[in-house]
C-alpha cells in the first residue's frame, strides 16, 4: 500500500471518529428538517466544530423544547454522526470550547508568525425593536395604509445601530 493511500485512509478514519466537541453558535430554531417532507419539526442549531466553516442546522438529538436547555448559544456540546453520516448534537460537553489561537510557520525563513484567533467568535446580535406603525393599539402588520412598522436596532448598551 502506498504512503499516499495510507494517509488517505488515516484521514477517513479520523473523519469517522465517534464524538467531537463543538460550540453552539445560534439560538435553537424549529425547522422542518426532513428533506423528504415528513413534516417532522426538529430543533436545529449552528455549531462550530473547529473547522473553517460553521455546521448549519445541526439537529438536536434529544428533541423537544428541552433541547434549548443545553443546545443554545455559546454552549459546548458533543456531536455524533447518525446512521446517514449527519452530525447531531447529543449532549452537553464536559468542557467549554472557545476560540483558540493559531500561528503559521514560514519554512523558508523558519519564522513563526504571531498568533491570531482561531475559530468563530460570538457577536451579540443587536436587539430589534418594533416601533409600531402609529395605529391605536399598534400593529406589526402592514394594514395596507400605513405600511410596515418601523424597526430600530439597539446594541447591548442601548445605542441605535
Amino acid at each position: 500500500m502506498s504512503g499516499d493511500l495510507k494517509q488517505l485512509i488515516a484521514r477517513e478514519q479520523n473523519a469517522i471518529q465517534q464524538q467531537i466537541r463543538g460550540r453552539v453558535m445560534s439560538d435553537p430554531v424549529q425547522k422542518n428538517f426532513d428533506v423528504i417532507g415528513l413534516a417532522e419539526f426538529t430543533w436545529v442549531v449552528d455549531v462550530d466544530i473547529g473547522s473553517d466553516k460553521l455546521l448549519r442546522d445541526v439537529p438536536v438529538k434529544i428533541n423537544g423544547p428541552k433541547a434549548r436547555f443545553y443546545a443554545r448559544v455559546d454552549q459546548s456540546v458533543f456531536l455524533e454522526k447518525d446512521a446517514q453520516g449527519r452530525y447531531q448534537v447529543i449532549r452537553p460537553a464536559d468542557r467549554v470550547r472557545q476560540q483558540g489561537r493559531i500561528c503559521f510557520l514560514d519554512e523558508d525563513d523558519g519564522i513563526v508568525s504571531p498568533t491570531v484567533p482561531l475559530g468563530f467568535d460570538l457577536i451579540v446580535r443587536p436587539y430589534e425593536f418594533y416601533k409600531g406603525n402609529g395605529l391605536p393599539g399598534g400593529s406589526f402588520y402592514n394594514d395596507g395604509v400605513h405600511g410596515y412598522p418601523e424597526i430600530t436596532k439597539l446594541d447591548q448598551d442601548g445605542n441605535e445601530v
Partner: protein, 544 residues
C-alpha cells in the same frame, strides 16, 4: 601498548534473580542496578552474575528515542546469541537449578562496552534490562552450530505494564516534584535510581491533580511534555530523561567526518504532519448558566387540625444541581381559602458562590386561623341549646325553633372543621454548572492548502495557559517537520551518542546537524561495531 586505533569490546553478564523469587526478600532488578553503581554491598551468591561474554556469538542492540506525539515511550532492546553446543544453557532442556536457569524470563542482563585497551572494569554499562519471553534454540546440522537466542528489553517495558493511580497532588506542586515522587513512591525506585534532569519551573494549576489508571512512566511523560522531555532508562538502569528539542546543542561534532561511513537521504514518499493542534485545559472553572426554568414543584394540603409544616425542595434528586436567582412562585396559597389557614414563605440555602442546591418552604399558623371563630361558634352552640325548641307563633301553630338554631350553628362548625387549605408552589431559577475551559493552540505550516493539511492533535491537561499551548504547538510542529528530513547514517559507533542526541558533521557554514531516533548495531568479538542510525536533519534552513 595503547594505539589510536579503536579495539571495541563488550561484556555480557546475567544476574539470575529468578532463583531468589521464593526467598523472603527476593532480589529485584533495583538491587542489581544499585550493585552495579556500587551502592549495594553484595548480592546472594546464586544471583551471580555469570559472565557470558566468552559464550556470546553476538548482540544486536536497538536503541530508540521516545516520542510523545507518535510512538510514545521507547525502550532499548537487545537480541543476544549464546553458543551452546551441548544444550547446557537451554532453560527448557536443562531447567533450573541447572545452568538453564540463567536464561529464564525476568533475569537481568547487563552489557558493558569499551575499548579492549582499557581495563573492562572502567567500561560503561550500556544496557540493563530483563529477558523477555522464552529464548529460542537453533541446532543446525549444515553449519554445525548450536545456539540459543534470547531477547531482553530495558526497564521501560516492565514499567509500561504497571498501571496505577497516583496520589492527589495539591495545587502548586512543581512538575519536578511530581515526577520524582511518582518515580520513588509509585514506581518503587530507589533515590539513587532516579536521575531525572531539572526540567523547568512549572507547577500544577488545578486545585487537585491525580493521574488515574495509566502506567506511571506514561504519567511522567505527560508531566514532562510541556517542557519537551521524555523519560528513559539509561544504560545503568537509572530513570533519566532526554530532551526532544531540535534546537538544543550538539552532543558531538565530527569536524572531519572521521566516524561516518555514509549519510543517505532516502526517498520521502509523502508529506507528513504540517499542522499541530495542542489541547490543554484552563484550570479556572467557567460558570455555564442554563435558561431560566422550573427547578422544583411542591404542594401541601392543610386542614383545621394541621399545624405548620416545612417542605424541603431541591433542584435535583441528588442535591447537586446548582441554581441562582431562585424565585418562589405561589400557584395557590393556603391562605386563599374562605378561611385563611396561615401563610407560606420560602428560604433557600445559599452557598458560598451565591447559588443554592436546595431550600425549604415554611407553612405556618394553620390551626390558629379559624380558632377564634370556632370558639365563638362553640359559645353559640351552647347558647342555642338553651333556646326552647317549641315556639308558639300563632294559636295552635308550634314551630321547632331551638333545634333549627342548633342545626345552623352545627353546620357552621362543620364548615370550619371541614375546610382544607391547598398550597401549590413552584421554584424557578437559573441552573448552572462549572466546567473547565479548553485551551487550543495550533501551529501550521504557512501556505498549505486544505486538501494537503495533515494535522495531529496532542491533548495534555497539564498545558494550562494559552502561551504554553502556543509554545508546545510550535515546538512540536518544528520537530514533526524536521522528522521528515529522514537521514540514515552508517558510522563507527560512538558510545557517547544516545537516542534524541544531536550530532553535527563538518564545521562553519557547511555544518549539518542530525537528531537521532534509533541506533542499531551488532556487537561481535573483534568486530568493527558499526552502527546504523536513523536520524533526521535539524540543520536550520533544511526543510522537507
Amino acid at each position: 601498548m595503547l594505539t589510536q586505533r579503536r579495539q571495541p569490546g563488550f561484556r555480557i553478564e546475567i544476574f539470575d534473580i529468578r532463583s531468589t523469587s521464593g526467598d523472603p526478600t527476593p532480589t529485584r532488578i533495583n538491587q542489581v542496578v544499585l550493585f552495579n553503581l556500587g551502592l549495594f554491598p553484595t548480592l546472594p551468591g546464586i544471583v551471580g552474575p555469570r559472565d557470558f561474554t566468552d559464550d556470546c556469538v553476538g548482540i544486536d542492540v536497538t536503541e530508540q528515542a521516545g516520542d510523545y506525539v507518535s510512538q510514545g515511550i521507547a525502550a532499548t532492546s537487545i537480541t543476544f546469541t549464546i553458543s551452546d553446543p551441548v544444550g547446557d544453557f537451554d532453560p527448557v532442556e536443562n531447567p533450573a537449578p541447572n545452568n538453564g536457569r540463567w536464561l529464564r524470563q525476568k533475569n537481568v542482563i547487563v552489557v558493558r562496552e569499551g575499548d579492549e585497551q582499557v581495563d573492562d572494569a572502567d567500561w560503561p554499562i550500556t544496557f540493563t534490562g530483563a529477558i523477555q519471553g522464552q529464548p529460542g534454540q537453533d541446532f543446525n546440522r549444515t553449519t554445525l552450530t548450536a545456539e540459543i537466542t534470547g531477547k531482553a528489553s530495558s526497564r521501560e517495558v516492565d514499567f509500561l505494564r504497571r498501571i496505577g493511580t497516583t496520589r492527589n497532588f495539591t495545587q502548586a506542586t512543581t512538575f519536578e516534584d511530581m515526577a520524582n515522587e511518582i518515580a520513588e513512591t509509585d514506581m518503587g525506585l530507589d533515590l539513587d535510581e532516579i536521575n531525572l534532569p531539572s526540567f523547568g519551573t512549572r507547577f500544577t494549576a488545578f486545585l487537585s491533580t491525580q493521574f488515574v489508571d495509566e502506567s506511571f512512566l506514561t504519567t511522567i511523560a505527560k508531566i514532562m511534555f510541556p517542557d519537551g522531555f521524555m523519560p528513559r532508562f539509561d544504560g545503568d538502569g537509572r530513570l533519566s530523561a532526554t530532551s526532544g528539542l531540535i534546537t538544543k546543542g550538539n552532543t558531538r561534532v565530527y569536524v572531519d567526518r572521521e566516524l561516518q561511513v555514509t549519510i543517505k537521504r532516502p526517498i520521502l514518499e509523502f508529506n507528513g504532519t504540517n499542522s499541530v493542534e495542542i489541547l490543554g485545559l484552563d484550570p479556572n472553572l467557567t460558570k455555564i448558566p442554563q435558561i431560566r426554568q422550573e427547578l422544583a414543584r411542591a404542594s401541601i394540603t392543610t386542614g383545621f387540625f394541621s399545624t405548620g409544616a416545612s417542605i424541603p425542595v431541591s433542584w435535583s434528586d441528588d442535591k447537586t444541581q446548582q441554581a441562582e436567582d431562585v424565585e418562589f412562585v405561589v400557584l395557590s396559597s393556603i391562605g386563599a381559602s374562605p378561611i385563611a389557614f396561615g401563610s407560606e414563605s420560602f428560604a433557600e440555602t445559599i452557598q458560598s458562590d451565591g447559588g443554592s442546591v436546595e431550600g425549604e418552604i415554611e407553612v405556618d399558623g394553620a390551626i390558629s386561623a379559624g380558632l377564634g371563630l370556632l370558639s365563638l361558634l362553640t359559645g353559640a352552640l351552647i347558647f342555642s341549646l338553651a333556646v326552647p325548641d317549641a315556639v308558639v307563633t300563632a294559636p295552635g301553630d308550634v314551630k321547632p325553633f331551638g333545634r333549627t338554631v342548633t342545626t345552623f350553628v352545627m353546620q357552621a362548625i362543620s364548615f370550619i372543621l371541614g375546610q382544607a387549605g391547598r398550597g401549590e408552589y413552584r421554584m424557578e431559577g437559573i441552573p448552572y454548572e462549572y466546567v473547565f475551559k479548553e485551551i487550543r493552540g495550533v501551529c501550521q505550516v504557512s501556505g498549505i492548502r486544505s486538501e494537503d493539511k495533515q494535522e495531529i492533535t496532542v491533548e495534555n491537561h497539564l498545558i494550562n495557559s494559552q502561551t504554553d499551548a502556543d509554545d508546545a504547538a510550535e515546538r512540536i510542529l518544528r520537530r514533526e517537520r524536521a522528522k521528515q528530513n529522514i537521514r540514515t547514517v552508517e558510522m563507527i559507533h560512538d558510545l557517547v551518542l544516545e537516542p534524541d542526541d544531536i550530532f553535527a558533521v563538518g564545521d562553519g557554514l557547511d555544518q549539518r546537524r542530525y537528531a537521532i531516533r534509533t541506533i542499531s548495531r551488532r556487537l561481535v568479538r573483534g568486530g568493527a561495531h558499526t552502527a546504523s542510525l536513523n536520524c533526521f536533519e535539524v540543520t536550520v534552513g533544511v526543510r522537507p
